[in-house]
């Protein structure tokens, strides 16, 4: 089965890192077929930023999202830009402080104040990792440990603790949703 995930936000929010870590976890630690693509504007911060992850049991041909099963957005502009990419029975996941739903939404929506949680942990830079924990918990697509391993692959060792905390906060937030 082919699953399409789109992550969106602003440059500097770690949108591409978030997608990359999840994709790496799927491909290397969970042994799935997986393609990761990225797109960003020229600005270092503040421009649009998006990444796409396709996960499948079979060889993946077309590498882009056509209709997303999951849309994860951390800015209002990304919400506006990509909401039409979400399939009718897709799932919308938002940073609830950063994104306001503008139209009646019949699809499932899960929100987490990821940026605020990261701020309380001492650094907003891990907002993406809070969101990643939340996403991992909501979807249960990959093993929690696989995603943690992929975080360690990507993040310098001295930040492992902070990232693990951020990931766990997001993950347990998802557990409390049910």
């Amino acid at each position: 089965m082919r699953i399409e995930i789109k992550f969106g936000g602003l440059g500097g929010q770690g949108i591409i890192t978030m997608g990359f870590i999840f994709a790496n976890a799927a491909a290397i630690y969970d042994g799935k077929e997986c393609v990761f693509t990225q797109d960003y504007s020229a600005e270092a911060r503040g421009g649009a930023s998006t990444s796409e992850v396709i996960i499948s049991d079979e060889k993946i041909d077309y590498p882009h999202v056509t209709k997303a099963d999951y849309l994860v957005v951390m800015s209002q502009s990304a919400y506006r830009d990509y909401i039409d990419k979400l399939r009718n029975n897709g799932v919308l996941i938002i940073d609830s402080d950063m994104v306001k739903i503008e139209e009646e939404e019949k699809r499932k929506v899960y929100g987490i104040p990821a940026t605020k949680i990261a701020e309380n942990l001492g650094n907003t830079i891990v907002a993406n990792i809070v969101m990643l924990g939340f996403f991992t918990g909501i979807t249960k697509m990959l093993k929690k440990e696989s995603v943690m391993n992929a975080i360690r692959d990507r993040v310098p060792k001295k930040f492992w603790d902070l990232n693990e905390k951020a990931f766990n906060r997001g993950y347990s937030h998802a557990m409390h949703m049910e």
Binding site: F20, A27, I28, C34, V35, F36, Y40, Y62, T66
Partner: protein, 372 residues
């Protein structure tokens, strides 16, 4: 690189594939979307006794790898379209001096500086005819990150075997896309490396070919006193500016590739056996075509894909052998389309063109071939 699974971009896979294929010299000038190849080579080559040089520009870059090649190194550079435009003069020099080199072109939207971060396929004719003169060159183009790694071995082996530049095309999609790559054990990789022929004594006629039309290559630094030049030369290597010398040399430079074209051709024939519609495609674009073929097949339509992995010399026999309607899906305004027409022999050929920036969607392809 230790055997195992890695999550790599096309750029990383191109660099690691080159290293696995024995490349130990890289000179380049970074440009999007190829920059991560230079970045990876800068990191990795010093770790394994290789040399990385960032040059002043693309002209210097290709000159440096031609020199390195003459010392016996397997040498590479990487750039994108604008850089190839600058390198083209020395592509001709490498052809004439018969220097084995690999030149990566990560194709982006074009012409000029175009779309630096987005895919284009406008450099297919440039790869073949970019330098002045009548010559044959080898051009390869993978379509996945695994193949980007694996095919590098063929690129270096062909360059060394035929003493010719190999243009290694990827595109902005492959360059920045990540997939899982399996790296085989080192012994397994080592076994695939084909080394160039070198003379066992000081040759008096260093450009005298063997039966395969390829002369063994004396190496700089081993005491041979030889002369290599871009001017038309005789088998001693000295300029001989006559129609007779020209006929002999330039004919051989072309024929040494044409003679071996069947060994050089690599294609993927996907569901083509019974197809009445065949879509010719290559590189990133073929990912959409494959998806479209699968959809069409699910609906009972006899559609197949002929994916060119070797673009040049053009694998014409794979066009000639089919009786079907051909479609050529490419991100330009018709380049390989004309080549397919040349060999389609009465079959219909239709161009499915997009100017670049993105590959076709599978639906766009399906629409062009008459719906599902």
């Amino acid at each position: 690189m230790k055997s195992g699974y890695y999550f790599w971009s096309g750029d990383i896979a191109a660099a690691e594939g080159a290293i696995a294929a024995g490349c130990r010299f890289y000179a380049g000038y970074p440009i999007t979307p190829s920059s991560e190849i230079a970045e990876r080579m800068a990191l990795r080559l010093p770790q394994i006794g290789g040399k990385f040089i960032q040059m002043e520009d693309e002209i210097g870059s290709i000159a440096a790898i031609i020199g390195a090649s003459w010392t016996g190194e397997r040498a590479m550079t990487a750039t994108s379209g604008p850089g190839i435009s600058l390198m083209n003069e020395n592509i001709g020099l490498a052809i004439m001096m018969e220097a084995p080199i690999v030149v990566v072109n990560a194709m982006r939207g074009d012409p000029s500086t175009g779309l630096p971060t987005l895919i284009g396929q406008g450099d297919l004719m440039q790869a073949r005819y970019g330098s002045h003169g009548s010559y044959e060159i080898i051009v390869l183009y993978p379509n996945s990150i695994q193949e980007t790694f694996d095919l590098m071995m063929d690129a270096f082996n062909m360059a060394e075997k035929y003493r010719v530049p190999v243009m290694y095309l990827i595109d902005a999609l492959l360059a920045h896309m990540f997939e899982r790559v399996y790296v085989p054990p080192e012994e397994e990789i080592e076994r695939k490396i084909i080394r160039r022929k070198v003379p066992n004594k000081v040759p008096s006629r260093p450009f005298e070919p063997d039966d395969d039309l390829v002369p063994p290559m004396p190496l700089i630094g081993q005491g041979h006193k030889i002369h290599a030049t871009g001017l038309t030369h005789d088998e001693r290597g000295y300029p001989n500016l006559t129609p007779k010398a020209q006929e002999k040399l330039v004919r051989r430079l072309n024929e040494k590739i044409i003679k071996h074209e069947r060994e050089i051709w690599k294609v993927e024939e996907y569901k083509t056996e019974d197809a009445d519609k065949i879509i010719v495609s290559f590189g990133g674009e073929s990912r959409a075509v494959r998806n479209a073929v699968n959809s069409a097949r699910k609906n009972g339509k006899k559609v197949g894909m002929l994916r060119l992995i070797t673009l040049w010399p053009f694998p014409h026999e794979f066009i000639k052998k089919y009786t079907a309607d051909f479609y050529v899906a490419e991100l330009n305004y018709g380049q390989m389309y004309h080549k397919v027409r040349e060999y389609a022999d009465g079959n219909n050929v239709k161009l499915i063109a997009k100017m670049g920036g993105e590959i076709h969607t599978p639906n766009e392809i399906l629409k062009e071939i008459g719906g599902v």
